[in-house]
């Protein structure tokens, strides 16, 4: 069965080709069948492959399927080869399964759109590119998938391209991630110069012998790869594109900007963990980036009024948690949080999409309200997702994954008190903004009436994801709560164990868990108090000068857009304006300009005067004779 691994990325690719070329002429039911069927078949295949991988693991806990050699030049010969181990299995499961649910959802959500076939084609292409990224055996093929998902993100954010704001958002996303992509490409070039190959296996095996920890080359490479990861995963300082990317349809936000593409950076760091471990300063930077991002995004989410922007900042924040986990060496905890986050964040985005769809494209939460009784399925699933996001204890999967990260940020030998404090504060803020969103949207008086109710195709994925958000946590529980290590067991051959600084800290672990649970509940209470019971307090706070300034600063994502506009965009557009007539072009036009100038100079000699021409002939005769006789 693992022989058919290549079908997993190829089937959505075929779906893309069929829908791209013939989609316009097909019936909607056929388009739905092709668009969702390919991803569904991939998901089924992944489940079968996963069962076989886990029950009878291949030698070395890894399976390589080489298709052909892609190119061979200058000693470098990357091949089209797929590599399956615990890490990539976790990722492809999430991508295909959650992707399938989102495709089913969007078959109803986007059904009446005129670009329905185009939408499903791009979504299929995206799934295929993401699978290539994750399954790639070498960094060149991974870069192909990397660029592919970037392209699909651009195409899908700007899906409703007739609105120029959407196109601008798509452009912004592409350009900002491009900065990261360039850094990653530079890192790949440095890796080529060091190892003369991009094969991940060989690099990870020969790296420890090749470099001493902390040597300049490996630090550079790690930082450049981190640059790429930061761009794709919307972390500091390249996080500005993700809130604007909400201009795309909700299924796009769910699939790309919550569950899968933005986690590509996490995958990159986890896959190249050997390189990062050889550069401790880079690891520390990863952790600090994660910690600061989660705080910044958390505070920004508290003041947003567009429901999708709240979720966008929440995504940035949660990926900060994953980065934090990777930075302190808790590799499998970070990947576990990725999986659980994919479930509940996709659920939240799909639920938000259902609400927006029902209220006829109203996205402002302050114009919603009272939906609790009217749309019960959406309410309960949304509540399950929010609970997981806020890490409500014991019943939600989010608790187990986030708690693991908090624990390791305290206890790992690379962790520190500050990192734990940041994560702890972040958890507090998370529950505040999450339940603020829930309360304002579903409680209170109904301000906008429901136009149409979502159908089965939209509700069933919500239910499935809600169930997963609850039971998914039981794959990996902490020491004092059952100590199930199914997930980390799967990853044990791939990612190293986290080194804990103080052992025998069971009691500390319990204290931290209780603290986290209490802050979760406290955040819910604060959200209820300040936004439901006594909204006047915050309203008065916003009227004060300091309050309004703070509100505005957090609303614009801590002013990053303004800074970038001032420092980078304005000088660049000013320079481009100066070069409007393309100075370099002058050089290439120069010969023709020279010819025209010479022509204008000499055309006076063609004055139509017969005697003038005769004089010219005589002069030529004299010159010719002179040359013939004297030279």
């Amino acid at each position: 069965m693992m022989r058919y691994l290549w079908l997993v990325p190829v089937m959505p690719l075929l779906g893309f080709l069929v829908l791209a070329f013939f989609g316009r002429n097909l019936r909607k039911s056929i388009i739905t069948l092709i668009g969702t069927g390919t991803v569904g078949l991939s998901a089924l295949l992944v489940i079968l492959i996963g069962i076989e991988f886990l029950t009878s693991p291949p030698a070395g806990n890894a399976f390589t399927l080489k298709l052909w050699t892609w190119m061979s030049s200058g000693g470098l010969s990357p091949s089209i080869a797929f590599y399956l181990d615990g890490l990539s299995l976790a990722f492809i499961f999430v991508v295909t399964f959650v992707g399938f649910l989102i495709h089913v959802y969007s078959s109803e959500y986007m059904r009446d759109d005129e670009g329905f076939a185009r939408f499903l084609a791009f979504m299929n292409l995206f799934v295929s590119a993401m699978l290539i990224l994750v399954l790639a055996d070498n960094l060149a093929l991974m870069y192909l998938g990397w660029e592919g998902v970037g392209l699909c993100s651009f195409l899908l954010i700007g899906f409703w391209y007739k609105e120029s704001a959407n196109a601008a958002a798509a452009r912004k996303a592409f350009i900002v991630t491009r900065v990261g992509d360039t850094a990653m490409a530079l890192g790949l070039f440095l890796l080529i110069t060091e190892f003369n190959t991009l094969d991940i296996r060989s690099i990870l095996e020969t790296a420890p012998a090749h470099w001493t920890p902390g040597s300049a080359k490996v630090v550079w490479i790690a930082f450049l790869l981190l640059g790429g990861a930061v761009g794709k995963s919307a972390q500091l300082p390249l996080q500005t594109w993700l809130p604007d990317a909400m201009a795309g349809p909700s299924p796009v936000s769910a699939l790309i900007h919550a569950a899968t593409m933005v986690t590509a950076g996490v995958y990159l760091i986890a896959r190249n963990h050997v390189v990062f471990e050889l550069a401790p300063i880079a690891m520390k930077t990863v952790a600090i980036v994660g910690a600061s991002t989660l705080l910044i995004a958390g505070f920004a989410a508290v003041v947003q009024y567009d429901i999708k922007r709240v979720l966008a900042y929440s995504t940035i924040s949660q990926i900060g948690y994953m980065f934090l986990a990777l930075g302190v060496g808790a590799w499998s905890a970070g990947i576990f949080h990725f999986m659980i986050h994919a479930f509940f964040k996709a659920l939240l985005f799909l639920g938000a999409g259902a609400v927006i769809h029902a209220l006829h494209h109203e996205q402002n939460i302050f114009k919603m309200g009272g939906l609790r009784k009217e749309m019960p399925v959406i309410f309960w699933t949304f509540l399950a997702g929010s609970g997981a996001l806020a890490a409500l204890p014991l019943v939600t999967a989010g608790f187990y994954s986030k708690d693991a990260i908090l624990w390791y940020s305290w206890s790992s030998e690379k962790g520190s008190l500050f990192l734990w404090a940041a994560a702890f504060l972040g958890a507090f803020i998370t529950s505040i903004y999450t339940f603020r969103m829930v309360f304002i949207t579903f409680w209170g008086k109904m301000k906008t009436h429901i136009h149409l109710r979502p159908g089965r195709a939209m509700l069933i994925p919500l239910v499935v994801l809600a169930v997963l958000s609850i039971i998914g946590g039981f794959l990996e529980t902490p020491h004092n709560l059952g100590h199930i290590t199914l997930f980390s067991g799967m990853l044990s051959g791939v990612l190293p164990e986290v080194h804990i600084l103080h052992s025998g800290a069971e009691s500390t672990e319990l204290i931290l868990q209780v603290l986290t649970a209490l802050t979760g509940f406290f955040g819910i209470y604060l959200a209820w108090h300040f936004w439901m019971k006594k909204p006047g307090f915050l309203f008065r706070l916003k009227q004060t000068r300091a309050g309004a300034a703070l509100h505005h600063w957090w609303l614009t994502g801590w002013g990053f857009d303004w800074v970038y506009d001032l420092l980078i965009i304005r000088p660049f557009t000013w320079l481009s304006n100066i070069n409007k007539n393309d100075i370099v072009d002058y050089i290439s036009i120069a010969p023709s300009n020279l010819v025209v100038w010479l022509h204008n100079l000499t055309r006076r000699s063609q004055n139509g005067n017969l005697r003038w021409y005769a004089a010219g002939i005589a002069l030529g005769l004299i010159i010719t004779l002179t040359i013939a006789l004297f030279l």
Partner: protein, 173 residues
């Protein structure tokens, strides 16, 4: 014979200069005819009797006459034309004169610095010329004939204008 050569040469040069500088067109043409006659004398003295005869018959006798006919037909050379031909202004003739002088200087340098020792000139019989024409240069003769025919046809076609008015005898009927 040398005296004849020099006298004819002087006459040729002087009459050519006069031909070039007259404002009245008919005067210029007449001076040119004199120049050609003097040139024919020069050719005779050089020993080319046949060429001298041809020069008189064809050049002075046909071509120049053609010129005179056209001038008279177009009625040029009168008083109004004289005003236009204002070429005694130095501005006009200094350039061409300079160029011609330089050309003459170059040519005379080429002529006078011959490495080959000069020989004397001899008479070439018309008979020899005729034989050479019709044996060695036969093709040239034929082509020259074709060229003359082309000239005739061309001149006829260019000069042909449809009669705009009928003869008075043909009008009215």
């Amino acid at each position: 014979m040398l005296i004849a050569f020099y006298i004819a040469g002087v006459i040729a040069v002087v009459s050519t200069i006069m031909a070039v500088t007259r404002s009245n067109a008919v005067h210029a043409l007449l001076y040119l005819i004199v120049s050609f006659l003097a040139a024919a004398v020069v050719l005779f003295v050089l020993g080319a009797h046949f060429a001298a005869a041809l020069e008189v018959i064809v050049y002075a006798g046909a071509i120049m006459v053609l010129f005179v006919f056209v001038i008279m037909m177009l009625n040029i050379g009168g008083e109004t034309e004289k005003a236009k031909e204002r070429w005694l202004v130095p501005k006009r003739w200094i350039g061409p004169a300079l160029m011609a002088a330089i050309l003459f200087a170059i040519l005379s340098y080429a002529i006078l610095n011959q490495p080959v020792a000069t020989a004397s000139l001899s008479i070439v019989e018309p008979k020899t010329v005729g034989i050479s024409l019709y044996t060695q240069y036969l093709l040239g003769v034929e082509i020259a004939a074709v060229m003359l025919m082309a000239g005739i046809i061309g001149a006829f076609h260019l000069g042909y204008t449809k009669r705009k008015s009928k003869h008075r005898f043909l009008k009215g009927e």
